[in-house]
Symmetry: C2
Subunit: 404 residues, 2 copies
């Protein structure tokens, strides 16, 4: 019942906002391009008969009224911000799939019992304001509103300032109202569904994450005159930890990434005295994640001692492994079965807004395959048939739930 | 005969221009602070009776006429630019010591046979425009004028543009005229003189250097969903090479430093796809430097293969070990002996403008100790007595040579 062509063309039109030469999208959270993406969604949602509300973190809710407005809404949604090297599908797909649900209902004048809402969550990627999913996190009670608004990007701009700048500093409180159910459609961002030739991933939960900010302090000194023995080279320390973190990640189902590094004073012939770096550890098993934490701290302490460095490790985010609501996961699986799509259960390697909404409402996710399992890359791709299939499952599950 | 207090107070006054909170100096080449430092020198040199000429690379020459203006001048000088984390002495000392020579001659109305000149060489540090000593390099015939003017900083600004910006794009040709002798006074920037309790280092030459720019290309991908096995993480490759380069430097008299690293896209949860880094290798023995080059290339190729990365290594600078002119080195040693200063022969760990001038004129250098051997650091320090002693040796050697 969903219109594959309409969904696809909306995705492609949205992908023009921040579109890159290589066919990707760079639409960083709370920039003017993010505003343009939001404006387009708002316009389309109004055309589909919705009313719009914006909360104090800029989360946007497009609402299609139900026969009983007092019933808690059945909600879907995702995010419109991207990575610096992002693609057209990560996040945007979940929002456009929700819009397609609204359009199908609008075109057929179908009114559900409970209201239907489509959410756009602010700053899901976490690459500008760390950690990820901070606005759905406040919605789900994981962080306070004040904390989220005060997070600074690398230039010192706060989330709150940037939000005001783009005019999406809404009045609604963040969360605190009953939600009947939440569904999120997303590309898998990994290689499993494609390899297993499945159209639908029935997401049972997301693996755990720990994010760190690490500061190394050594001593600037002359590259030509300072003997190797006495050096306190902060970049050598950081490099050894990058290698160690990689090794720590090399365990079954482990993931480890150093995504950001800043070295000072950035002079070819001065030994670096200060380095900032991040670490992103993931594992589906919380006990393993705890071991990874301990192993990294031990490695860093050893490196610091050997090189005469000071090291400060701050864990800025702990995201425990998050299983979704069984009855909603079952509903997604049943939907895929009934529609005849090849499907499998899958654990998400990425965090998603759904994981935080899951703390205040029953939640589930629908994955579709992406080309070569690649995401956070401009070449990210998916097929029209697969994204259409995911939206169809979403539509069925939401209507079923809204009429239950 | 030199005035220790006057020399010291000029050094301290100059150190205010770009002075940092920690007592260091950040006066990057061809910035407005560099201009202010030059303006101050020019004023002081004029006050000491000199005429000023500026060449096409902004090298400044303050000239005190000799009894025979046709005689090739005896020259000294150094540089006024600093590292981002620079001190008050590196470079500035050699210029102020030259100024002190001019002032002593001026005050006593002493006229040498040959003219005396004090030079300020542009962009010695090489941290904004790589490589180091590029303007004295053109003077010495190591690079072309066009090459030097076209070098870009990390923001894409050329040397020529920056030079015009500060108004020091002079008319004089760069070099091509006879120089009778060149002397440069400098802090050692290393720990040897202090350890050996010597006031004067008789510099026999400078060790060799090779500077590299290395670009790694991998593939951006999602930190949470991309399995460790298939990753093409450019930052892991760079980190392994930083560790390998460090090991390569760990040989007798070897030096190895990675001073600059830039990783993209700088997102915590995206695997880095592109990394730029520099390597600075040094050794007094050219054969060892060649071995270090080969070892690094082998290490990089191995790393690239293991991680599915592309690596491009460009050697952007080769500076061979540079012995100074025996007769001038002997003159410095004799001067130290006669003045009764504890002294020793020493090889410079750093490159200096003198090394390039050495290619077109007999050249030598005078080192004085610096505190704890620390340079390229804001805490760089030296004693009034030592810097005065070095200037005294400079004065004697220059006058002796100018009257020879
Ligand atoms: N879906 C997605 O890429 N979310 C960003 C947060 C994460 O890195 O897991
Ligand atoms: N003297 C000095 O620090 N020169 C900079 C060039 C080098 O790193 O050797």
């Amino acid at each position: 019942r969903v219109d594959h062509d309409r969904l696809w063309s909306s995705l492609m039109e949205l992908g023009q906002i921040g579109g890159t030469e290589k066919g990707g999208v760079c639409r960083i959270a709370l920039t003017d391009l993010d505003r343009q993406g939001r404006d387009l969604f708002v316009r389309w949602a109004k055309d589909a008969g919705c009313t719009i509300k914006v909360d104090q973190l800029g989360n946007v809710f497009a609402r299609r009224e139900g026969r009983d407005p007092a019933k808690p809404p059945v909600m879907t949604g995702s995010h419109l911000d991207t990575q610096p090297t992002g693609g057209k599908f990560d996040g945007a797909y979940g929002v456009m799939a929700g819009l397609e649900v609204l359009r199908v209902l609008h075109d057929s004048n179908y009114v559900t019992e409970a209201p239907i809402e489509v959410a756009v969550w602010t700053n899901e990627e976490g690459c500008r304001f760390a950690p990820a999913m901070v606005a759905s996190g406040v919605f789900g009670g994981a962080f306070t509103l004040e904390h989220a608004l005060s997070i600074k990007d690398r230039d010192g701009v706060t989330f709150g300032e940037a939000l005001k700048q783009i005019g999406y500093d809404g009045k609604e409180p963040v969360g605190g109202r009953p939600i009947g159910a939440f569904f999120e459609a997303h590309i898998e961002q990994g290689p499993i569904l494609e390899r297993e030739k499945k159209t639908i991933g029935v997401v049972t939960g997301a693996q755990g994450q720990r994010w760190y900010e690490i500061n190394w302090t050594g001593m600037e000194s002359h590259a030509g005159t300072t003997p190797m023995e006495g050096r306190r080279d902060a970049l050598v320390g950081a490099a050894e930890l990058i290698v160690a973190a990689r090794t720590i990640g090399n365990r079954p189902n482990g993931r480890s990434t150093v995504g950001v590094i800043d070295s000072l004073p950035q002079a070819r012939n001065t030994i670096p005295g200060r380095v900032f770096m991040t670490v992103d550890f993931r594992h589906p098993d919380d006990a393993e994640l705890t071991k990874m934490d301990a192993e990294m701290r031990a490695a860093a302490a050893d490196i610091a001692r050997r090189h005469g460095l000071e090291v400060k490790i701050e864990q800025i985010w702990y995201f425990p492994p998050s299983p979704f609501a069984k009855e909603l996961v079952d509903a997604v699986r049943r939907g895929a079965e009934q529609a005849g799509y090849p499907h499998m259960d899958i654990v998400s390697g990425a965090g998603h807004d759904a994981c935080y909404v899951n703390r205040v409402a029953p939640t589930a996710m629908v994955f579709v395959p992406c080309k070569d399992g690649v995401s956070h890359n401009e070449i990210e791709d998916a097929s029209k048939g697969d994204v259409g299939a995911g939206a169809q499952i979403l539509l069925q599950a939401m209507v079923e739930r809204a009429n239950a």
